[in-house]
């Protein structure tokens, strides 16, 4: 299946929750040194629940669209639920098969989120 599908391209063109927050409770940024993709996630958290989320950065379609989709998915969710988000959840969200290089593009946003919220290092699916 072609990875350059309408849904992904729409998220890339008109990303949801793009930008930064003025005084975020959690803010974290990382890049993928392989391709230079960069994502920052800002979160407002109230009583363990995500009230507001913004992402910013640059990179390929997959990394930016996945970040946009992820922000839609997590708004209103508890931090605990984020901790449990897996590599498979992201792959289901993207909905198309990706090769090993592009999988990391898709996972970058979740990696940033988990590192920011819990200090979890490593790629989703291979965390310590």
């Amino acid at each position: 299946m072609n990875i350059y599908q309408e849904e992904l391209l729409d998220h890339y063109e008109n990303p949801s929750n793009y930008g930064t927050l003025p005084n975020p409770d959690i803010s974290h940024e990382e890049d993928n040194p392989l391709c230079g993709d960069k994502i920052r996630m800002d979160l407002m958290v109230d009583d363990g629940t995500i009230k507001e989320v913004r992402f910013s950065g640059h990179g390929c379609t997959i990394s930016q669209a996945a970040a946009s989709m992820l922000t839609e998915k997590i708004e209103g969710k508890s931090l605990e639920e984020i901790k449990n988000l897996s590599r498979d959840d992201i792959m289901d969200m993207i909905g198309i098969p990706l090769g090993p290089v592009r999988v990391k593009c898709a996972l970058l946003a979740l990696k940033v989120l988990k590192a920011g919220a819990y200090g979890i290092k490593g790629w989703p699916g291979e965390e310590e």
Partner: protein
């Protein structure tokens, strides 16, 4: 570059040797600078070893081991002839260019580089001709100096006299840039380096497969290249060195094959090149490389070079028509069959990803040359590279697909 063996390439018949191009429409493989495809005769030469005389080399006292040894050494002779090495024994088989350079950095470097010495590189270097010297500099306290490039991706010769001095002990330079395709005037650099008594290593990974390289004429001290970039298999590479240097150098890896005699506490070492070939080598791969040398020699290196020049000139002409494209590096006549570019507003990974859907293989990324990417202030580029089996049709398909990628992506700019 000699042109004596020039005759137009019969690309159609060459392509029939590569089963990977048999589909219709065929794969447009534009990533030979990373690794080339393998023609049937090379695979068959390796199959013949596995099917009919598979055995370890050197000490076997039976027929098939003698044959394996002979074929392995014939491959060495072919490689020696290809680059006009004075003696066959000056060809050391390694795993790849990277290992060849590391061999020099560890073995030659450990006895010849000291604190305060300077190693001169260029910003065009692949990480394989950079990181081994960073490690050597860290071990010894030597300093790395860099020859810069112009905006067009040519070495800035006005600086050569500033970076070279009596402190310069080594100049390690790529013959052809894997990113920009720049063909460096290495003869002038070798001569200038020798004038200050520096040793010169040439990274020839992108030159030996594509045009005549003559180590005697160049007078370089070391030259390194890989089999897998010249129609050979992965897992075998070459280090050429001047005999007096190779003889003086301590061993790199210790083990079987590289010894003359072994006592409990000390050993004496075999002669060059065995001294540098510890353990069972990549026998089938060396034999495959020998056959690959025959293959590209029969096609004609001058013919390959002219063919690639035609392709890269045409690619430049066609790509320059695309709005929003930036092409990095020099004009076609100053470079090999490599073209690096970016399309405005589209990440190179997306460019490569979209092209893949049209069965076109290009590379996208930093091409193991991050200092060069920084120089051009980009994170990554897309790169198409050509070899003897590529056609004008491959270039047409590349350009058409790039325009389709642009149509798909540019209405979407944030």
């Amino acid at each position: 570059m000699q042109t004596s063996d020039y005759r137009p390439l019969d690309v159609k018949s060459i392509r029939q040797d590569f089963p990977i191009f048999a589909e219709d429409p065929p794969l447009a493989f534009l990533d030979s600078a990373a690794s080339t495809q393998t023609p049937r005769p090379v695979v068959e030469a390796m199959d013949a070893y596995y099917d009919t005389y598979r055995s370890n080399i050197h000490r076997g006292i039976y027929r098939i081991s003698e044959e394996a040894t002979e074929q392995y050494e014939i491959a060495r002779q072919k490689v020696a002839k290809l680059i006009n090495s004075p003696r066959t024994s000056q060809i050391v088989f390694t795993r790849n260019t990277t290992e060849s350079i590391n061999l020099v950095a560890y073995s030659w470097g450990s006895v010849n580089i000291k604190q305060g010495d300077e190693i001169v590189l260029t910003v065009l270097e692949h990480h394989s001709n950079l990181v081994p010297w960073q490690l050597l500099a860290q071990r010894t306290g030597a300093t790395l100096k860099f020859l810069e490039i112009t905006d067009k991706g040519l070495l800035d010769f006005t600086q050569l006299q500033n970076v070279l001095s009596e402190k310069t002990k080594l100049v390690a330079i790529t013959h052809v840039s894997n990113v920009l395709g720049t063909i460096n005037p290495i003869q002038s650099i070798i001569d200038a380096a020798h004038a200050v008594n520096a040793t010169v290593l040439v990274d020839a990974a992108q030159s030996v497969p594509h045009f005549h390289v003559d180590v005697r004429q160049l007078d370089c001290d070391f030259l390194a290249f890989s089999g897998h970039k010249m129609c050979g298999p992965t897992g075998v590479g070459v280090l050429y060195g001047k005999m007096e240097l190779l003889e003086e150098m301590p061993p790199f890896l210790g083990g079987g094959s590289m010894i003359r005699s072994v006592e409990r506490d000390i050993s004496t070492y075999a002669d060059v090149p065995a001294k540098f070939e510890a353990g069972t080598p990549s026998i089938a791969e060396a034999i495959g490389l020998g056959r690959a040398v025959d293959y590209i020699t029969q096609a004609g290196l001058a013919s390959i070079h002219v063919h690639e020049q035609e392709l890269v000139k045409y690619a430049h002409q066609r790509l320059e028509e695309i709005e929003g494209i930036t092409i990095y590096g020099p004009e076609p006549h100053q470079k090999a069959g490599v073209i690096s570019f970016n399309l405005e507003g589209i990440h190179p990974h997306d460019v490569a990803g979209i092209l893949d859907t049209y069965n076109i293989a290009i590379r996208a990324g930093h091409h193991c040359a991050q200092p060069l990417m920084k120089k051009f202030d980009v994170i990554a580029t897309a790169r198409a590279s050509f070899y003897l089996y590529n056609t004008i049709d491959d270039v047409e398909r590349l350009c058409d697909a790039l325009q389709k990628a642009q149509t798909l992506m540019t209405r979407r700019n944030k």
